[in-house]
């Protein structure tokens, strides 16, 4: 009967850090946190994080990492903007997604067939793609059609976001793409010896990551009003923070869950927004953010650790009998 208590606790506790933060900021911002304007503002920071995370989680679940997401989103947005100047708005999002997918394909092929570490390949891509964006824009600003700016309206952005997240959620939790990705993260050798085409699924994971980066890029252009070569800078790190703060294991495997990404993304966004709203000095904001991030994740891990220990004990107990 103890079990039930623990099981229930397991569902609530990952939210503990988030709850603490939300409560604390509700007090310090004197309720401003909950105004509709601000909730929408928080939502617009959450959207790219979750979209990017939904793609990257496939790679992370396999135990790899994709550092190229930020640069990929920038180049996808840039090229899409250029293409849509010539071909019209209809080509905008498809182009961005295609570019993202191509980058993912490249990453995936190098990682899977040439056995280069994912961090090395994607770091190189981070540097190279960013440089390409700078070259393409050549320092000037690319203006985009009004429709692209309209993408930033919540009435369009939210449906796009929901559809994309639902698809990714389905792929990750209910199809073999996600299942195999987690298996590869758990034990790649076992996956291979069980007959899973590991290379194929590595490529698929990177392609999905690229596609989502492309989508984020296309939305980003609307958000910042045109192509800016620095857009998406450090986006990959923000996504990773969201993933890991939510409790997705760095080594991947079956602990990777999309709901954890949600928690992470919301935690990070509320934290940033709350600190700014509380008028914390810009210098201190970063200091406090860093400390709280570390605190939240260690709290979550600590609690989970305790839980797992308890469960393990219960299991072995059962075995012995």
């Amino acid at each position: 009967m103890k079990k039930n208590v623990f099981q229930r606790a397991e569902y609530i506790l990952p939210f503990a850090g988030l709850l603490v933060i939300v409560i604390a900021f509700s007090i310090t911002t004197r309720g401003t946190l909950w105004t509709s304007d601000n909730l929408l503002a928080i939502l617009s920071t959450i959207i790219p994080l979750i979209l990017g995370g939904c793609g990257m989680i496939f790679v992370v679940a396999q135990g790899g990492c994709d550092l190229s997401v930020g640069s990929a989103s920038a180049i996808a947005g840039t090229l899409a903007a250029i293409v849509c100047q010539n071909l019209g708005f209809a080509a905008y999002i498809p182009t961005a997604i295609l570019i993202g997918a191509l980058i993912g394909l490249f990453n995936g092929v190098i990682v899977s067939h040439f056995k280069v570490q994912s961090i090395m390949v994607t770091l190189a891509m981070l540097i190279a793609l960013r440089a390409l964006v700078v070259y393409i824009t050549n320092g000037s600003v690319i203006y985009v059609p009004e429709q692209v700016l309209d993408l930033n309206n919540y009435s369009i952005k939210i449906p796009v976001f929901l559809v994309a997240v639902l698809i990714m959620y389905f792929l990750f939790e209910y199809t073999k793409v996600g299942y195999f990705s987690k298996s590869i993260g758990e034990n790649e050798m076992a996956a291979k010896y069980t007959g899973i085409p590991v290379n194929k699924y590595k490529i698929i994971a990177f392609i999905l990551s690229g596609i989502m980066a492309g989508l984020v890029g296309s939305l980003n252009v609307g958000r910042i009003g045109g192509v800016d070569p620095t857009m998406g800078n450090f986006f990959e790190l923000e996504v990773m923070i969201a993933l890991f703060v939510g409790g997705v294991p760095v080594t991947g495997g079956s602990g990777s869950k999309i709901y954890r990404l949600f928690i992470g993304a919301i935690t990070v966004s509320v934290l940033e927004n709350g600190l700014t709203l509380s008028k914390v000095d810009a210098g201190s904001a970063e200091l406090i953010e860093g400390i709280i991030l570390i605190a939240v994740i260690s709290l979550t891990l600590f609690i989970r650790d305790k839980l797992i220990q308890k469960q393990e004990i219960m299991k072995t107990e059962h075995n012995a009998n």
């Binding site: 190098i110 390949v121 190189a124 190279a128 070259y135 790190l237 990773m240």
Partner: protein, 324 residues
């Protein structure tokens, strides 16, 4: 079971591939020199390449002792900034001694704080590093804001203690670095312990390696290298500006590329040696491209990315195992 002769052949093959790689690099250099009308392989230019390779090499050596144990600490960039600043401040009253001691102690203290917290809290080092980077960046800006309010800028060395960062002193330090890092990494108990933990944590600790102690001690050595890198950086640049918004992470991208490249070359050269080789390859690349008139910031970076991937592929050519 393979015969000894076969294994011996394997070893010889190793020596061969070492020579082959060096020759290939040399040929590439000569070709570049030909196209650059002799502007590439001049003494001054080579010295300048080496000079630029010093700081990335030292940071990458730091990574050898920290990242090898599986701790991926991304706050090193922020640590370098803080260590450079502290070194710069202490350089005025104490000269070179202050510069080096200030930088090294700062780096060591911060890195040890990181490592012990990572071990204690069991937080994945990736996130911890990013969080710590935010904290250290913020400390840097506190100092900078303070200076601006005083009508000053972040500490600048001026003419004080600038020799460490310039030839020939930095090259001498680089050579000392090669020797020391090689010896510690390959010929000391701590080196073996670090490599053992990196390769297989549980087996290593079963075999009697005290892993926490080794990680902390490795972090101590690694952060000494990072401290020295910071001191050289400060002495070379004269001033290191604090940044915010995780921009410090970008600071370690090149050293990280050096380290990863070195890992890829590890089957040909020893890790600490290949660090220097990788650093020189990357810096020569920038140098030669500038000489060729390739615009920096765009095609140069594209070329760097390409070189990293190509080297990675070449080095992993025969890899059959599992790569993350």
């Amino acid at each position: 079971m393979k015969s000894v002769a076969e294994q011996h052949q394997k070893m010889q093959k190793g020596t061969k591939s070492k020579i082959l790689t060096l020759v290939l690099i040399l040929i590439a250099f000569l070709i570049c020199n030909l196209f650059a009308h002799g502007r590439f392989l001049t003494g001054n230019n080579l010295l300048s390449i080496l000079t630029h390779a010093v700081v990335p090499s030292f940071i990458a050596w730091g990574f050898c002792f920290i990242y090898t144990t599986g701790i991926m600490d991304l706050s090193v960039g922020a640590i370098v900034i803080l260590a450079s600043i502290v070194g710069g401040i202490l350089a005025f009253p104490l000269g070179y001694f202050g510069l080096i001691i200030g930088a090294v102690i700062t780096a060591v203290v911060l890195e040890l704080v990181n490592l012990s917290l990572i071990i204690k809290l069991k937080v994945p080092s990736w996130v911890f590093g990013l969080g710590a980077a935010m904290v250290y960046e913020a400390i840097g800006t506190y100092y900078e804001t303070f200076e601006i309010d005083q009508g000053k800028q972040v500490v600048s060395l001026g003419n004080t203690a600038r020799k460490l960062g310039s030839a020939p002193w930095n090259i001498i330090v680089l050579c000392i670095g090669i020797v020391i890092s090689y010896i510690i990494f390959n010929r000391t108990t701590i080196g073996f312990d670090i490599r053992a933990i990196g390769s297989n944590h549980s087996v290593a600790s079963m075999m009697g390696v005290k892993s926490k102690k080794a990680i902390l001690f490795g972090g101590f050595i690694g952060s000494c290298f990072i401290g020295v890198a910071s001191a050289i950086n400060e002495s070379y640049a004269g001033r290191v500006m604090p940044v915010t918004g995780l921009n410090s992470v970008a600071l370690v991208f090149i050293p990280l590329a050096v380290y990863l490249l070195a890992q890829a070359f590890e089957r040909i050269f020893n890790l600490t040696i290949s660090v220097v080789i990788s650093a020189i390859i990357i810096e020569s690349l920038f140098n030669i491209l500038t000489i060729f008139g390739v615009p920096s910031g765009t095609w140069q970076d594209v070329a760097l990315g390409t070189v990293i991937i190509v080297c990675g592929i070449l080095a992993q050519k025969n890899e059959k195992g599992i790569v993350k």
